[in-house]
């Protein structure tokens, strides 16, 4: 068994764009659920809009990557508005049902062959990061994300973070987006605005009776959280192709696991939760097949890799039951469960 190889591959996930994407979307969920009490089960939909908005912006609209990114963010804002106007008057659990359905609608719209020219249907979209585009679409992605990379060609860093200029550029951009996002959220939740949305989480009638426009605050929270979801989707799109098969409901549940791991009502929780989630994912995904190969597990190595998903489910259950406040959450906050 290649222990060092496993550890090295695992460690690389600390700086993986996927981890950053999860952290960003998890931050959005923290605003939604942890601070405003909005039970959003459709974060995958927001991420899909961020990713597809960007890809379509580059490929179909021919925008440079930074403007295309705003297409994705704008799409998520519009989605939040459409979702919020009818549903924010609903009680928490109904919102959960509606959001899960809305995210599925988004995914199915992206999957249907009716819009194949724009969305690529089941094949998804690729080549939007450029430079140079693809064989079928040579000018596509001319203004893509990769084209803006100021880092010279070559390999940088040290194991396990020895990577080419493209990966490093992605990491740096991701880290900057993440740092700014964490700062903004930290500022927001520690401000009077944050106080109001935390009040709404506790009892919206009481906050309404104090003269606050509860609906407007919930809408703001939904939009802000949704934008972070879209940023997460963007981050995924910067690093790889977009495909509707990625933005499924289980993505939402992975995000929830990462969020609850770190602590729902915290600013750094989603970040740390995502890192732990992905490091564990990667570690178990490599460890189990290796053990299976040695004959220590009663599965073949392909099955063994799937076992981790079972463990994630178990972990989510245990977490919610025994440590609902997460790693960073304030224990006191959960001492008095409503």
């Amino acid at each position: 068994m290649d222990v060092l190889g496993i550890l090295s591959s695992t460690a690389s996930f600390i700086l993986d764009p996927t981890t950053m994407a999860y952290a960003l979307a998890g931050l959005g969920l923290a605003i939604h659920f942890g601070f405003a009490g909005l039970l959003n089960m459709g974060m995958a939909g927001f991420m899909a809009l961020g990713a597809y908005g960007y890809a379509i912006g580059v490929l179909t609209l021919g925008l440079p990557w930074y403007l295309a990114a705003f297409v994705g963010i704008g799409a998520s804002i519009i989605f939040a508005l459409i979702l919020g106007i009818p549903t924010l008057r609903l009680r928490g659990d109904y919102l959960a049902i509606v959001t899960i359905a809305a995210a599925e609608i988004i995914r199915l719209l992206l999957l249907t062959s009716a819009f194949i020219d724009v969305t690529g249907s089941a094949d998804g979209l690729s080549g939007f990061n450029g430079p140079g585009g693809t064989i079928t679409n040579p000018i596509a992605g001319a203004g893509g994300f990769n084209g803006s990379n100021p880092i010279p060609d070559g390999e940088f860093g040290f194991e396990p973070f020895l990577d080419d200029e493209r990966t490093w550029y992605l990491r740096i951009v991701g880290a900057i987006i993440l740092a700014v996002s964490v700062f903004v959220v930290w500022r927001l939740v520690n401000s009077p605005w944050g106080r109001v949305i935390k009040g709404i989480r506790e009892d919206e009638e009481a906050v309404r009776s104090l003269g606050k426009n509860v609906f407007a605050y919930k809408m703001q929270a939904l939009i802000i959280g949704g934008v972070f979801g879209a940023l997460g989707g963007l981050m995924l799109a910067f690093s790889t192709n977009v495909n509707s098969g990625v933005y499924v409901t289980s993505l939402t549940f992975f995000l929830w696991t990462a969020l609850l791991l770190g602590g729902a009502a915290t600013v750094f929780g989603p970040l740390v939760g995502s890192v732990i989630f992905w490091v564990l994912q990667a570690f178990l995904g490599l460890l189990f097949p290796a053990l299976a190969k040695l004959g220590l597990l009663p599965f073949d190595s392909i099955q063994a890799a799937q076992v981790r998903f079972i463990l994630i489910g178990v972990a989510l259950v245990l977490l919610v039951v025994f440590r609902p406040q997460g790693i960073f959450g304030n224990k006191k906050e959960l001492t008095f469960v409503k």
């Binding site: 927001l188 401000s191 009077p192 906050v207 309404r208 003269g211 606050k212 426009n213």
Partner: protein, 300 residues
């Protein structure tokens, strides 16, 4: 135990009405006027108020049997529920169709029968939420510390002052969830006062509060009047009603059935029949026949 050194006998406001006393009688200086407010839930008419006026700068009690529609009437007046028909105005401004939060901003604030403390916020944060002056509650301004920090300090001082009066200052950094039921009532009332209201509507402020705390709550309510506020409250404790109310409105089956000065109203046979019962001042033991008191003479 409580804050102020005020004497026990409150100064009653009198001469609040115009003309003969009857349900819906006009007031000299009404702060709130409701006309033909009706709310139906399916076949049930919960509230059907022809006309009622609440006198300004006085303490008005709204009493009536369970299910009389008192809380529903509260909800209608404050925009938490919409009536099927009716108009009502506060300070001359019509409130029909006005959203609850706007009603609160106009100076009509209410508390709830089931206390709504914001459990996982600290007592201080609960209080700060009551202020309507903080522009840092706006999304964009909230990100710039310097735009709201000064105001927050002012609000904190105001909150601390109120908390002291309500004997909650020692608890200011605790979560509201850790407060007892009575303390939550106090917190809710103090929080409502942070909005600097003109009319305070209290829904059963004494329910579940121990006698000592009741006394200090009474003083707080009397102080509100002294500070120029108008109080409308729902309460089942008749001793309290008699003690502090300047005016009593009796509701039964959604309608206003009687009005008047507390002592008069409580002698009204219709009120006794519908609500008080004929043994209201007797010891429960004598009613059930388990004990016999030497004489029913109680403190008046």
């Amino acid at each position: 135990m409580s804050s102020n050194d005020k004497p026990a006998t409150p100064v009653k406001s009198t001469g609040l009405h115009v003309g003969a006393i009857k349900p819906g009688v006009a007031k000299k200086d009404p702060i709130l006027i409701a006309d033909s407010v009706r709310r139906q839930f399916g076949g049930l008419t919960a509230v059907d108020v022809e006309h009622v006026e609440i006198p300004r700068n006085a303490i008005t009690a709204l009493i009536g049997p369970n299910g009389a529609g008192k809380t529903t009437f509260f909800n209608l007046l404050t925009g938490f529920d919409n009536p099927n028909t009716g108009t009502w105005s506060f300070n001359g401004k019509s409130l029909a169709g006005v959203a609850a939060f706007k009603v609160a901003r106009m100076g009509l604030i209410r508390t709830f029968q089931l206390t709504k403390a914001l459990s996982l916020l600290t007592v201080m944060d609960n209080m700060k939420l009551g202020s309507t002056q903080q522009r840092g509650e706006k999304l964009w301004a909230s990100m710039f510390h310097f735009l709201w920090k000064k105001k927050d300090v002012e609000i904190e001082a105001q909150a601390l002052d109120l908390l002291k009066r309500f004997n909650l200052d020692a608890k200011k950094d605790d979560y509201a969830a850790s407060l007892s039921g009575g303390q939550r009532k106090l917190l809710e009332m103090a929080r409502a006062l942070m909005t600097k209201p003109e009319l305070v509507m209290l829904d059963e402020p004494m329910a579940g509060v121990n006698p000592a705390l009741t006394q200090s709550l009474l003083e707080h309510i009397l102080n509100l009047k002294k500070e120029g506020m108008t109080v409308l409250f729902v309460e089942h404790d008749m001793h309290m009603v008699r003690h502090i109310a300047d005016w009593v409105i009796v509701m039964a089956e959604g309608k206003v059935v009687a009005e008047g000065d507390p002592h008069e109203v409580m002698r009204n046979p219709a009120v006794i029949d519908a609500y008080l019962g004929s043994h209201q001042d007797d010891d429960l033991g004598t009613i059930t026949g388990r004990i016999t008191l030497p004489k029913p003479g109680k403190e008046k």
